[in-house]
Each structure stands twice: as structure tokens, then as C-alpha cells.
């Protein structure tokens, strides 16, 4: 008897999901082979064994892409025979959030994590034609080993393809806080960053096995680190921006363990991409760079452990699966322990070549690395301390924002002060005269603007003036760096040279300026935010700083999968209307929870940020209005930093056969 159309469709659906599950298992087998075969090949010098990694790396990626596609398909068609879809989706949910629901949970996000792992593995294979065959084979083998560990983790503790015997009619909906465009794209970027660092790790371990690190290695590892860092920057910025507008009071960074988990790899990756320059240009800092490459991914793993084990968030029962935590801790322990042991055994053979004087770019980059690494260490200690204090000293402590603000900020200030100086120092032997005299002017400008702000501000806090001075120093200092690179001569000639500067130089100046923008935004927001909390009657007008706000109306509105209490607030300045804002309070009946949707009038110099609260017993509504000066500069700066990284990534020397000419034996540092 022929099957009805609906039945055929149901079978196809079931097949797609099962094939996705099967593809994941198949990819695990391929990854296991790829862990062993290329490594043996590289050891014995068997070309075909080494080359097999190319095929398996590409195949793994295609299988994972299919597997991830199958899970996405299950979410899109709301296949409620999958437990994961039931727990995180709903037929009424908008399509964007059906798709983002795939990674809005533990199991699906782990599958995305592994998909990206295999993507980076495949990219090493695709773009690594100029790598020495043994190094490439070893890199791919290490990458595969990491992939194996995570695939086993998924299949045995967090399988996204778990079926339900009796499918319900509808799902439990995705957490409403996650139904937001900013957050839909936050995890993929973050994972591209976290997991991208696995490639730097694989390069480091492969180099240790190989026993040689030379300038070419520095050049090969840098683009991967840079790419990972760019994605991590965007991912962190998206998360921070989301927190700013979604959580209802405009905080942008909470020093929460989960945020710190993403910030530590970012700091270490920033240190790594600076020290890799020293390896590439000067063949110094080799052992340290290898160590950073290991630690950067190590912090990604620790981050995954912190986020998913729930060990630091035990107050709330989330992700409270000890099995997962133990397994992730084991993965971290095995890969970090193994890599560090290899490092201890082999680091000695990586002697530095380049000599340089105390006052040189090399020394400045050493200082950069010390400050970034120590600040990451401070974040790490602060994040883990409540656990340490409870286990070792039997003290139940909190380590929160006031600690981090005080313990972390000095390092960033110091970094900012040194940055323009270090960026302009010459390699080998620098001197403070010559080109660098221009920085005297920049410093004078920075101090003058800080003093001016100090004079006109009403409060007594030094935070604003110091922040402004530092930002001017960084931004104008970056411009001065570019200007100095054009040499001497008529203005037109120098402008011409400016356009012909390598993209890496532009990338450097742009991302350093971006850091200045971010510091500016943070210091202005923290020093000069203005807040008004009050009860407002419908129709009432009240002043907030230089603005006049009218609560024009409040109404109930029905959304696609929520109910909303929406307010219309008119914002006026000098009698002129500049915006009508509609803050909301939403209730998502399926998930059974309320959210606060702030409304923001974005501006270059300030955000007007309004929130509607509860109706009051005596009539009217509680409202909060914030004037947040220069808030957008925080994320603008992050985007500029990422843009600088991307510019640097597109530099010619990474595109042409990187290091091919430098692979001459004389340039290498043999192990034996």
C-alpha cells in the first residue's frame, strides 16, 4: 500500500536526524584515525600517511556540517521527537530563534563547538599547502585528538540527538532572554574564538613534537591566533552589548565567572599575537610564545569547564551534571598536562637568536606580554578564589566587581601608558629621540585634555580625567605612529606613502586606537552616568538632566509569543522632541517568565536609556531613566579593534606563500 505524503515526510524527517547522528559517530572514527596515522607518518617519513590527514580533515568537517545541519533541520521543522527540541523550541517561535535555539543550550552548543573544531582543522588542511608536510601532519593530528575528546564527550554525556519515546505536541520554548538578535550571534562568534585557539595550540604542540620553532612558525601561527582573537573580540562585544540593553539597567560588564571565562583567553590570545611577532621578526621569545599558545587554549578549556560544570555557580542549580564537569576537567587536565610536559621536555632546545637592547620594540613587547599575562592571572585567581577559599581555608567568600575593578584596572592603565611608546620603538635598538619626539606633543595633549576635564567636572573622581587622558594618548598616539611611518618630505608625498603602508601597520594602529575608544567609553560611562528613579503618572513630564521626559501612554500589546506592557515615552531637549521610546515589560507565557526590554535612544555622545517598571498602588508607574555618556564607544572600540585585527590578517605577507622562502634549513633551529 503506498504511503501517504505525510507519512513519507515523517520518514524523511526521521532519516535526516538519524543520519545526522550517524555522521557524528562516523566523524569520531575518522578523527581517531587522524590522531594516529599522520603522526606515525610524520615520524617515519611516510608521505601518504601524512597526506591522509588532508582527506580526513575535510571529510570530518563535511560530516559535522551535515550533522549540525540535521539538528538545525529538526529545530526548524519543530521535530518534537528530539528531547533537545522539546526543551528549547516552540512552534510559535520566530524562525531566527528556532535556528539560534540550536546553540542556545548545552548539547547543541557543544555540537557547534566540535563543528568549529573540524572547520579549523579543515582550514589548516586547505590553506596549509606551504607548511612543511611533517608539521602539517602533526598539527592536524593534534587538532584531531582534541576533536576526538569532545566528540566522545558529546556522544556519551551530551547527545543532542536523544529521542523521546512519546513526543509532546509542543515545546517548552527557548529562554526568552535568549530570543534576541544580539544573543543569537553571540555564541557562534565566541566559539569561533575559543575553538580557533585550538589551532594555535595544535601548532604549538606540533612544533614541540617537531622540536623546532623558527621565524616561519611564528608567521604560520599568527594568522590563526589573530583570526581567533578577532572572533573572540566580536563575541565578547556582542555579549556585553546584549547585557547592556537587555538586562534593564545598562551594565556592560559584570565580572561574572562566565564572562571571565571568555575574557581570560582573550587576554592571553592578545599576548600571544604580540609575542608571535617577536618570534617572526626576531626569533626570540620562542619558548614563551609556545607556552602562551598552550595556555590560550587551556583557558578556553577551563572556560568550558567553568561554564558547563556549574562548579562556580553552585548557588544556582544550573548545568549541575557532575559527570559533564568531571569529563571536561579530565579533557583540560589531559591536554594541558600533556602539552606542558612536552613543553618542559622540549622548551630547552628552542634557544633565542635575536639580540636587542633594553630600549627596543622587543623589550616593549615583553612588557606587553607581562602585563597581559598577569592581568589574565588576576582574573583567573579572582574567578577561582571563592572555590579555593572554601576548599582550603573554609571561608565562604564572594569575589565581585569591586575586587576586579580595583585589582585589574591598574594593569590596563599601565598597559595603556606604555602602549604608544612601545609601538613606536625601533626593533633591536630603540632611542627616544628622532621619530618618537612626536609623542611629547601627544602626551602634552593627553595631559591637557585630562586636566581640562578635571577642571570642568562637578564630581571629584579622577576616573574620568585619567580615562580621557589615556584614551587621547592611545588614539592620537596611534595616529602619530602611522604619521611617523611615512617618513619625511612634502605632505602629499607622505599621504601617498600612508596609503602604501602594509596593512599590518594599519591594523596595528587601528586596533590600538580601538582600545583607546573602548577605554574612553568605559571611563566616561563609569564616571558620568546619570540616573533617575521615580514614579511617573501617565501624561506627566519630568526633567532628567538636560532632558525632559513625558510618560505619554502605557498599553498592553500582544507579541508573537509574548504579552507586553508597553510604554510610550517622549524625550525632549530644549523643547524639541528627539525621540519617542517604547520600553516594555514582557511575559512569555510558555516559558512562564518576564523580561524587561529597555528602550534606548542611541547617540554618539550619550544614550538615553529608559525602563518601565511596575504599576504603583497610588497610580502611575515606576520608571528609570539613565543618561549614559559615550556608552556606544565601548562596543565601537571593540569593533574597531576587531577591524584592526582583520586588516592585519589581510596583510600581504600572510597571503603570499607564507614563509616559503624562509624555510631554508639555515633559518631553522634543529632540535638535535
Amino acid at each position: 500500500m503506498p504511503l501517504a505524503r505525510a507519512e513519507r515526510l515523517a520518514i524523511v524527517r526521521a532519516m535526516i536526524v538519524e543520519l545526522g547522528h550517524f555522521a557524528l559517530v562516523l566523524a569520531l572514527m575518522l578523527a581517531t584515525i587522524q590522531t594516529v596515522v599522520p603522526l606515525v607518518g610524520a615520524h617515519k617519513g611516510w608521505g601518504s600517511w601524512m597526506a591522509s590527514a588532508d582527506a580526513t580533515a575535510t571529510a570530518q568537517f563535511l560530516l559535522l556540517a551535515f550533522s549540525f545541519g540535521a539538528l538545525t533541520y529538526a529545530f526548524v521543522v519543530s521535530d518534537f521527537s528530539l528531547l533537545l527540541v522539546v526543551q528549547n523550541s516552540h512552534t510559535l517561535k520566530p524562525m531566527l530563534y528556532k535556528v539560534s535555539g540550536v546553540w542556545g543550550n548545552h548539547e547543541g552548543s557543544m555540537l557547534l563547538w566540535v563543528l568549529i573544531l573540524t572547520l579549523f582543522g579543515a582550514m589548516v588542511s586547505w590553506f596549509g599547502a606551504n607548511l612543511p608536510p611533517t608539521l602539517k601532519a602533526r598539527v592536524l593530528a593534534v587538532q584531531a585528538a582534541v576533536t576526538v575528546a569532545f566528540m566522545i564527550f558529546i556522544l556519551f554525556t551530551s547527545n543532542p540527538f536523544t529521542r523521546l519515546a512519546v513526543p509532546p505536541f509542543d515545546g517548552e520554548d527557548l529562554n526568552p532572554l535568549l530570543q534576541d538578535p544580539g544573543l543569537a550571534f553571540h555564541p557562534p562568534f565566541l566559539y569561533l574564538g575559543y575553538v580557533g585557539l585550538s589551532t594555535s595550540f595544535s601548532f604549538a604542540v606540533a612544533a614541540l613534537i617537531e622540536g623546532r620553532v623558527d621565524a616561519a612558525w611564528g608567521r604560520w601561527v599568527r594568522p590563526w591566533t589573530l583570526a581567533a582573537w578577532v572572533f573572540l573580540t566580536i563575541g565578547i562585544a556582542l555579549g556585553s552589548w546584549w547585557a547592556y540593553y537587555e538586562l534593564g539597567w545598562g551594565g556592560f560588564w559584570f565580572w561574572d565567572p562566565v564572562e571571565n571565562a571568555s575574557f581570560m583567553p582573550w587576554l592571553i590570545a592578545a599576548a600571544l599575537l604580540h609575542s608571535a611577532i617577536v618570534v617572526e621578526k626576531r626569533e626570540a621569545l620562542k619558548a614563551w610564545t609556545i607556552l602562551l599558545a598552550i595556555l590560550a587554549f587551556g583557558f578556553s578549556l577551563i572556560g568550558a569547564f567553568i561554564v558547563r560544570s556549574g562548579v562556580l555557580t553552585s548557588v544556582h542549580a544550573f548545568a549541575n551534571d557532575p559527570e559533564r564537569g568531571v569529563y571536561l576537567l579530565a579533557i583540560t587536565g589531559i591536554f594541558m598536562g600533556g602539552a606542558l610536559m612536552l613543553f618542559a621536555a622540549r622548551a630547552g632546545v628552542m634557544e633565542a637568536k635575536g639580540i636587542f637592547s633594553t630600549l627596543s620594540r622587543e623589550s616593549a613587547l615583553v612588557a606587553n606580554n607581562i602585563l597581559l599575562a598577569v592581568s589574565a592571572f588576576v582574573v583567573f585567581v579572582g574567578t577561582m578564589w571563592p572555590l579555593v577559599a572554601e576548599l582550603l581555608f573554609d571561608r565562604k567568600l564572594s569575589v565581585g566587581p569591586p575586587f576586579f575593578n580595583m585589582a585589574f584596572t591598574p594593569f590596563m592603565i599601565l598597559l595603556g601608558v606604555l602602549l604608544p611608546l612601545g609601538a613606536m620603538l625601533a626593533w633591536k635598538r630603540g632611542r627616544l629621540g628622532g621619530n618618537m619626539r612626536i609623542l611629547w606633543g601627544v602626551a602634552a595633549l593627553a595631559v591637557a585634555s585630562g586636566l581640562l576635564l578635571w577642571a570642568i567636572q562637578t564630581g571629584r573622581s579622577a576616573f574620568g580625567p585619567v580615562g580621557l587622558a589615556l584614551s587621547v594618548w592611545l588614539v592620537v598616539g596611534s595616529a602619530a605612529d602611522l604619521a611617523a611611518r611615512t617618513g619625511r618630505g612634502p605632505v602629499m608625498q607622505r599621504l601617498g606613502r600612508l596609503t602604501r603602508l602594509p596593512r599590518a601597520d594599519w591594523g596595528k594602529a587601528v586596533s590600538h586606537a580601538g582600545l583607546g575608544f573602548t577605554m574612553f567609553g568605559i571611563s566616561m560611562l563609569m564616571a558620568y552616568q546619570y540616573e533617575e528613579i521615580r514614579v511617573a503618572q501617565v501624561g506627566e513630564t519630568f526633567p532628567v538632566g538636560a532632558y525632559e521626559i513625558t510618560l505619554a501612554d502605557v498599553q498592553e500589546v500582544q507579541g508573537p509569543n509574548y504579552l507586553s506592557t508597553m510604554a510610550w515615552m517622549q524625550v525632549k531637549k530644549d523643547g524639541r522632541e528627539i525621540a519617542v521610546l517604547t520600553p516594555e515589560k514582557r511575559v512569555y507565557p510558555v516559558a512562564g517568565m518576564p523580561t524587561t526590554e529597555a528602550a534606548i535612544d542611541n547617540g554618539v555622545t550619550r544614550d538615553v536609556y529608559v525602563v518601565i517598571g511596575d504599576p504603583q498602588a497610588a497610580g502611575g508607574y515606576a520608571v528609570r531613566i539613565y543618561i549614559k555618556p559615550f556608552a556606544n564607544w565601548i562596543w565601537l572600540g571593540a569593533i574597531v579593534m576587531a577591524l584592526g585585527g582583520a586588516l592585519s590578517l589581510s596583510d600581504r605577507r600572510f597571503r603570499v606563500a607564507a614563509g616559503a622562502a624562509r624555510r631554508a634549513p639555515a633559518d631553522g633551529v634543529p632540535a638535535e
Partner: protein, 152 residues
């Protein structure tokens, strides 16, 4: 993203209220500002890493009111904080006091900076004098060069 899940749990437990409510605010702006500053450093005990100033939880509201009560009664900032620590333990402080084992936490950064700075300085010094093998000549080559020059 995971943070969002956790925060949502907090919100779920707490209900839809805003953090500081209009009816909590003291008439005296100086006292109110002190109350806000103190609140920002106190942990909402049932929340995850949130201060009572930003939290929506009922307990946080109780603590905010308590802080204001003590301030109105004439307590100094330190007295208010001591009162809360006596009641809830040092867990309530978001910035742990630098006493006993916690000194280690506060000094971890500076000590590490000194250590790393020392190692870094030693490394830079060593690079100043180390021979550059790629560019320089080995002793053998040096000797041969001398011979050649002598012969010439």
C-alpha cells in the same frame, strides 16, 4: 549565553520588579548616595554575583531597606557594613576583606607582576649580550678569518 540562562533563573525566582524602587529612595540625597555606594558592594545572597543595588530579588530589597534604615539611624558606612557582615558573614561582601588568607588574593597580582617583571628583566638583559648565531661567526670561523687575514 549561559550567563543569560543563569540570570534568567534569578529573574524567574525574583519576579518582575526593578532593582531600586522609587519608594525606597531616601529624601536626603547625600544619605541616598551613600546607600547606593554601600549597596553596590553588597552581594544579593540568593543571586549569582549580583549586588543588592542591581538585583530584583525580594531579599535584595530587604537588604537595601536595611542599609537605608541604618544610615538614617546615624550609622557610618563602616558600621553599616560591619552590621551586615555580622549578620550574614563575609560572603555578603563583593570585595573580600584583605585579611588572613584573602591577603593572598589581593597580593596575587602585584606579586606575580614583580616576579614576571624580574624574569622579564633578566631575559632582556640576557638578550642584550647573547651572541647572534645567525649573523655572527663561530669561534672556528673567527679563527679561520684571522688566519686568512694574516696570510693576506
Amino acid at each position: 549565553m549561559i550567563r543569560a540562562l543563569l540570570l534568567s533563573l534569578v529573574l524567574l525566582a525574583a519576579g518582575p520588579a526593578l532593582a531600586v524602587q522609587p519608594d525606597e529612595i531616601l529624601d536626603d540625597p547625600v544619605l541616598e548616595e551613600r546607600a547606593r555606594d554601600i549597596s553596590a558592594g553588597l552581594r544579593c545572597l540568593v543571586c549569582r554575583n549580583e549586588s543588592i543595588d542591581e538585583s530584583n530579588a525580594d531579599l535584595a530589597r530587604d537588604l537595601r531597606l536595611l542599609v537605608r534604615e541604618r544610615l538614617v539611624a546615624g550609622d557610618s558606612d563602616a558600621e553599616v557594613i560591619d552590621f551586615l557582615v555580622a549578620r550574614y558573614g563575609e560572603y555578603v561582601l563583593l570585595s573580600p576583606p584583605a585579611t588572613g588568607s584573602t591577603l593572598l588574593l589581593w597580593w596575587a597580582g602585584p606579586i606575580m607582576l614583580l616576579l614576571a617583571g624580574g624574569i622579564g628583566a633578566a631575559y632582556i638583559r640576557s638578550r642584550r649580550t647573547a651572541p647572534e648565531p645567525a649573523a655572527g661567526l663561530s669561534p672556528d670561523e673567527e679563527a679561520r678569518l684571522k688566519d686568512l687575514l694574516k696570510d693576506g
